[in-house]
Symmetry: C2
Amino acid sequence: MEKLGRRSLIKLAGAGALGALTGSALASEAAAPVAPSAANGPKQIPWPYAALEPAATAEKAFLAYARGHCMHGVFDSIQAQMAERLGGRFQDFPSGMFAYGAGGVGGWGTICGALNGAAAAFQLFSAAPQPLIDSLFSWYEREALPNYVPKGTKFPNVPSVAGSPLCHVSISHWAKKTGKTVYSPERKERCGVLTAAVAQQAVVLLNTQAKGAAVDASLAKATTTCMDCHEQKSPLENARARMSCGGCHFALGTKHPLL
Amino acid sequence: MEKLGRRSLIKLAGAGALGALTGSALASEAAAPVAPSAANGPKQIPWPYAALEPAATAEKAFLAYARGHCMHGVFDSIQAQMAERLGGRFQDFPSGMFAYGAGGVGGWGTICGALNGAAAAFQLFSAAPQPLIDSLFSWYEREALPNYVPKGTKFPNVPSVAGSPLCHVSISHWAKKTGKTVYSPERKERCGVLTAAVAQQAVVLLNTQAKGAAVDASLAKATTTCMDCHEQKSPLENARARMSCGGCHFALGTKHPLL
């Protein structure tokens, strides 16, 4: 039930996330428990953000996964805490709608739902979401995850490297590592634990940006090597992507000038 | 500014989308211009839906693309119309947050933003979004798109087959077909036109379901052939996906039992 306090608002102003936050609004904050920027209403983004506790958010994400899957898990763990602080109409957001992200959107195996939910939260709570997306997605591709295990798990945690932001690739690598099938209870729990780990990292990044520090948004060297010839302002400029190329292009064939 | 009328509400009730819509609520509709189910507030999903005009929605999506990219374009073209009819707190939704879906989420090339926005709208406005997602995504993979050209385009429309729900694959196929680069003005306009086409198809599907009819949610034969060995309840059950396998597995190698 904690409303946004003066110190939190100063942090927000310092991060440049609240362009409309005026001195007079700050002065009137003591009389108005709801953040001054909330006068604009929830339709305007970004919503005010102030540091959340990463591990506590991870625990909430694990519980929210059980209610509405991976995308909902990450998004709701962040949004619900901030909506409670902001109060009023900010609490109307229908976060149950993010159930659609399960299994890489309706089971289609595209983007990992935890990443889809985090990206949605970044755009809702940050005036500069791009470095947050780049940092989180690069981390997700390269790290052995989950790197956090919430309370109440039933199975041993087996970290694996996704190698891609895609649900299908992430799950396939986990299945190969563990020998479990992709609809096993172990896999279902693993995606909940991964949801917790992604929520924790997302909050670490939001907190870093909120205090005015930079996040590491560098992409993998293997990816930028491909991008040098294929992405924006390159000789070919015939491909648009930042995700790991090797996640799909694992057999380039003899025609490609392998580097 | 049209509020939901009696006929629209009967359609909604017919589609089973409003479980909480009681006879007494219908009887009091004349006195209360806002839909009775709106008494639950916008936090509860699904929101009431009544048929929208497909071509008009496509035009709105093209304009919304210019304001906030592909995911926002499709989502906002549907949500804004319904929010206007529902009125009040339903108009608070911060649809600008869906700018994050651009370029397959922050330029990462994962799911096409138009599909991401449509899936979000399906979950917000339907009690049974899965067949809508399956139908729309299968159509997107297989059809030569865009199949609709909104007013105000500058370049000739060149349809191409995406072969995948992924932004990166969809854009690569278009670039190969047209010889244009992926950051050209033609490509940027093409994604806006595609946004319009996807919004139109999404509304056709929502309308079909809202009147109680079934949508064609069958997957491509090439995909189900792979799924028979790799997906749920198959001999291997080692892969989770509904997207076209050939979009990435274009070189299976000699070890795979090619069918």
